[in-house]
Amino acid sequence: MSTAIETRGLRYAASRDFAIEDLNLKVPTGALYGFLGPNGCGKTTTIRLLLGLLRPDAGTVRLLGHDLPAGLPQALAGTGVVPDRPHLHRYLTVRDALDFHGAFYSRWDDKWARELTGEFRLLPDQKIAGLSKGETAKLMLLLALCQMPELLVLDEPMDGLDPVVRRDVLTALLDYVSQRGATVFVSSHLVHELERFCDWVGVMDRGRLVVELPMEEFRSGNKRIRVTGSPAAAPGDPPFTLLARETGAGPSETWVVRGWQPEMTGWFERSGIAVRDVADLDLEDGFVELLRAFRARSA
């Protein structure tokens, strides 16, 4: 499997209290990779490390086959970025910003940039300083797309946008990906936002990668199982990951598990535990339980 982004043993101390620890990310080429995590978990810091904006204390970053920092310009030539905050020159007009940006990219598609300006309902002569939040987000995406990148890195691109703008942005992004087969690495703290279009997911918490797996696996393997007659400690090694155990009324208990397969009920029977009910956990609940279990283990 070829990778668009790969980190090995990445470490970066952002402050005394917070550090990215031993981060091993593998973003497959062509994947729509959702980078999930609560606010302040290190998503933006990780993205800055991936883009060479920060220099890691240890570890390596490989972006589109180029080792950083030596191959940074080559890697950035194929990477479209929408940062967490817009950093454009505010005195430029939309057209000036397109012209300036396009001058640095050999594959810049000026014709498409003009078309997309119209589709996004941006006025070419409007100053960037006067753009609304939604218009700025559209312009940032437009700049990233029209450089025809192989990889798009988007840091919370939908944050604070209204549903109409969100749909515009998402449609343009998915159109591009379906036509060009580009890799997308998109961060968010909102699970349902990524659920709809990502096929891979990486979950980050407190500077560490909690899990990295295909979205389908993440979505289907999370279950809430109601059992009775369970002993105080789970017997042996269960064939799934036990995220949480909650005591219910009477002898019943609720187990939250990841990596569940229907044939695993046999393990319960062999352990003398009766399975009463197996329910799908929605993605957000799965995400919350995953973080809760990770934090309990870390503590």
């Binding site: 883009l51 005195y91 430029l92 300036f100």
Partner: protein, 216 residues
């Protein structure tokens, strides 16, 4: 890329460039007119007046260099340089592009001063024994701008760490100067260094000497 950078900087600084160009155009004209009038048309007094006005040329060059260098980097600084750092070119190349585009913006200012100097000297019936130096003055102004802009640009482009090191070196130099004065009161280290820097072949030499548009 350079064309795009020049366009970017022009968009960001054109108000400043136009205002400074007006000042550069006006300075020689005002100096000659005012100097001639206030000297009572007496040549020795006129030359003294022009010599005093001459102090404004390096001052204008310094003003241009500092304000333009600051304006050039202001937008990048406001965005924590993130936009620039995400462009697919090495960092040194981005700085070089910024610098070269800055030099292009200096050209209209030198031209404005040259034009002002030509207008000022051609509008005056030159008294016998005096010579005019509009071209030499413009060249000197250009060299001074080049030098000061280079310095101001380096400071404006420097990281906090580099600026910190620079400040520490200046502090160390002042400490050494004080120590030398205490040991040998007749030795003035600052004066010695400034003289060495500002006289030929020192790097600040274009700022020294006489800034005379009209002289004997």
């Amino acid at each position: 890329m350079l064309k795009a950078m020049i366009r970017l900087q022009w968009k960001g600084c054109w108000h400043l460039v136009v205002a400074l160009a007006v000042a550069a155009l006006a300075l020689p004209i005002v100096s000659v007119r005012t100097g001639w009038r206030s000297s009572g048309e007496q040549l020795p007094r006129f030359l003294i007046e022009l010599q005093l006005w001459g102090l404004f040329y390096p001052a204008l060059a310094a003003l241009v260099a500092v304000t333009l260098a600051a304006a050039i980097w202001a937008s990048d600084r406001r965005g924590h340089h993130i936009y620039a750092l995400l462009l697919p070119i090495p960092r040194w190349r981005y700085v070089l592009l910024r610098y070269l585009a800055g030099l292009v913006l200096l050209l209209p200012l030198v031209l404005a001063l040259w034009l002002g100097a030509v207008i000022a000297t051609s509008s005056l019936d030159m008294p016998p024994g005096l010579r005019q130096f509009p071209h030499a003055l413009a060249v000197k102004f250009g060299l001074a701008l080049l030098l000061l802009f280079g310095l101001a640009f380096a400071v404006a482009a420097a990281s906090r760490r580099a600026l910190g090191i620079g400040m520490k070196l200046v502090g160390l130099f002042i400490a050494v100067h004080i120590a030398v004065i205490l040991l040998s009161p007749r030795t003035n280290l600052i004066w010695t260094v400034m003289t060495a820097l500002s006289t030929w072949p020192g790097p600040l030499a274009p700022l020294g000497g006489r800034w005379m548009l009209i002289d004997v």
